[in-house]
């Protein structure tokens, strides 16, 4: 799953960086607010999940680890 998530991050950020699993995607400059929005849409599509508005909290999507945990919780 982590590889898929990293691929999504690279697509939406249009950068080839490979973030460490616990590295903040925002602090490292990989994701800005718009890329984050695009990433959530891509996660929904790729993993066939629905992210409710109430879960649109940047903190839930700050690292690859957190994203993976969140996606798992929605499956």
């Amino acid at each position: 799953m982590n590889e898929k998530i990293i691929k999504i991050i690279q697509d939406v950020s249009q950068k080839s960086d490979v973030p460490a699993e616990d590295e903040s995607l925002f602090d490292s400059g990989l994701l800005d607010s718009f890329a984050l929005t695009d990433m959530v849409a891509a996660l929904e599509q790729t993993f066939d999940i629905k992210v409710p508005d109430s879960d649109l909290n940047p903190r839930k999507f700050d690292t690859v680890e957190k994203i993976a945990a969140y996606v798992e919780s929605r499956k």
Partner: protein
């Protein structure tokens, strides 16, 4: 029924460029454009209040609506940056218009405030007949300026927009509206009683990029309309990147989403330039009742109006650029000047019916007119030729004309160049 009778706008004159702010936020000017789509914004002077901005827009709106302040039955004003907790700016603006006995209501709602005002006006207009809706923000006074915050400092501009909603007048009907609020994210963007604007951009963008498309879709669905059947979408000018994402989510080209953010920044009262998309949708005519163009003569000795008349017909104007062919003298917008001769003739061009006219200075009667190849966006000149002693009147017909192309042209610009046209007066009439 509710109609938009007219619109108005005001922005302060001072332009603040990305280059000016780049130095203050320690970023490149190109970064500002990349993250927001903004190239410049306007900032008001320190002593200008939100109510001042709103009053300017209100007066502009009344003028463009051909309406008198005495017709207004209610004032609704939205602002997130008003200087006082109470009274709000609505009552001040109403007073500025000479209205001291109509209800004036404030909506302390930033961003969506003008749309909320418009939706409320639609629901209340049967009772109050004409409701003036105003949105005004002086965001430059609520952002962190020393040192400047890179996230908010670059984003906001000052300005005001106004809209007159009428129960029975106006060419644009307000068909339906849908308002929603969700108080779950009040901490993400707020302005306290003291301090400056606080914004968590990520949360704001995430929520907006979901909620705005969803409310658009729901409104269209209940009216049995598909997004692609809509000519123009006009949304709060928050950030060009957000507008583009919302267009994508709705399923239409970004070009269908009106945008003025490059020039004015995030002004909240986005109505400031509604006139532009609305005239495009319709006929090329402003969206208020004619006349749009008049000519008047005032006797400067007595300060009395001698006469005034509508000028210009709608022959060449109509929906989708197709002329009506009707010689109705509604008074079109005029993009050209006049030239008055000692003999008492006014040569006049610039109406949108490709016509040059000579009017009698004393009576306003048309003494002579001629069709030109397009709108003569110029001021006529006249001279007496040394060579033959005759008097000539000369005009320019540029290509493209400011609004309408030369008659018969398929496109506004046909790459064929414009015209310089001279008319000779009959011999021995030089004056």
């Amino acid at each position: 029924m509710a109609f938009i009778r007219g619109l108005g706008a005001y922005v302060p004159s001072r332009i603040v460029t990305n280059e000016e702010l780049a130095v203050r936020v320690g970023k490149a000017a190109s970064w500002i454009k990349d993250v927001s789509g903004i190239e410049e914004r306007r900032w008001a002077a320190p002593d200008v209040a939100v109510a001042h901005l709103g009053l300017h827009a209100a007066k502009d709106c009344l003028l463009r609506s051909n309406a008198d302040a005495s017709e207004i039955g209610m004032v609704i004003m939205s602002s997130g940056s008003n200087e006082r907790r109470f009274p709000g700016a609505a009552a001040e603006v109403a007073k500025g218009l000479g209205l001291t006995d109509v209800p004036a209501i404030d909506l302390p709602v930033a961003s969506a405030g003008t749309l909320f005002g418009l939706a409320l006006a639609r629901d209340l207009v049967e009772r109050y007949r004409n409701i003036l809706v105003i949105g005004a923000e002086k965001m430059s006074s609520v952002i962190d300026r020393e040192p400047m915050d890179a996230n908010t400092g670059i984003l906001f501009g000052d300005g005001a927009g106004a809209c007159l909603v009428s129960a029975d007048l106006g060419r644009l009907k307000i068909v339906d509206s849908l308002m929603r609020s969700d108080g779950s994210y009040t901490e993400a963007l707020h302005l306290g009683l003291t301090g400056t604007l606080v914004m968590n951009g990520m949360t704001v963008i995430m929520q907006a990029s979901r909620k705005v498309p969803s409310v658009i879709s729901d409104l269209l669905k209940r009216n049995n309309r598909r997004p692609e059947s809509i000519d123009w979408f006009v949304m709060h000018q928050a950030n060009q990147n957000l507008i583009a994402r919302i267009a994508k989510a709705v399923g239409v080209d970004t070009e269908k989403f009106y945008s003025n953010i490059a020039r004015y920044g995030n002004t909240s009262p986005f109505m400031s330039t509604w006139t532009i998309p609305l005239t495009k949708i319709e006929t090329g005519l402003p969206c208020f009742e004619p006349p749009y163009g008049k000519i008047a003569v005032i006797d400067l000795n007595t300060n009395k109006l001698l006469w005034s008349r509508n000028i210009g017909t709608i022959e060449e104007m109509g929906p989708f650029g197709i002329g009506t062919g009707l010689p109705i003298n509604v008074g079109t917008p005029i993009y050209g000047g006049t030239m008055t001769t000692r003999g008492g003739l006014i040569f006049q061009v610039g109406t949108m019916d490709s016509t040059m006219r000579a009017l009698d200075l004393r009576t306003g009667k048309t003494k002579w007119s001629v069709k030109t190849p397009g709108t003569a966006n110029s001021t006529p000149i006249t001279y007496v030729s040394n060579k033959d002693g005759r008097q000539y009147v000369v005009i320019l017909v540029p290509n493209p004309g400011f609004v309408y192309p030369r008659a018969g042209a398929a496109r506004p610009s046909d790459d064929q160049g414009g015209y310089v046209i001279g008319y000779a007066l009959p011999e021995a009439t030089a004056n």
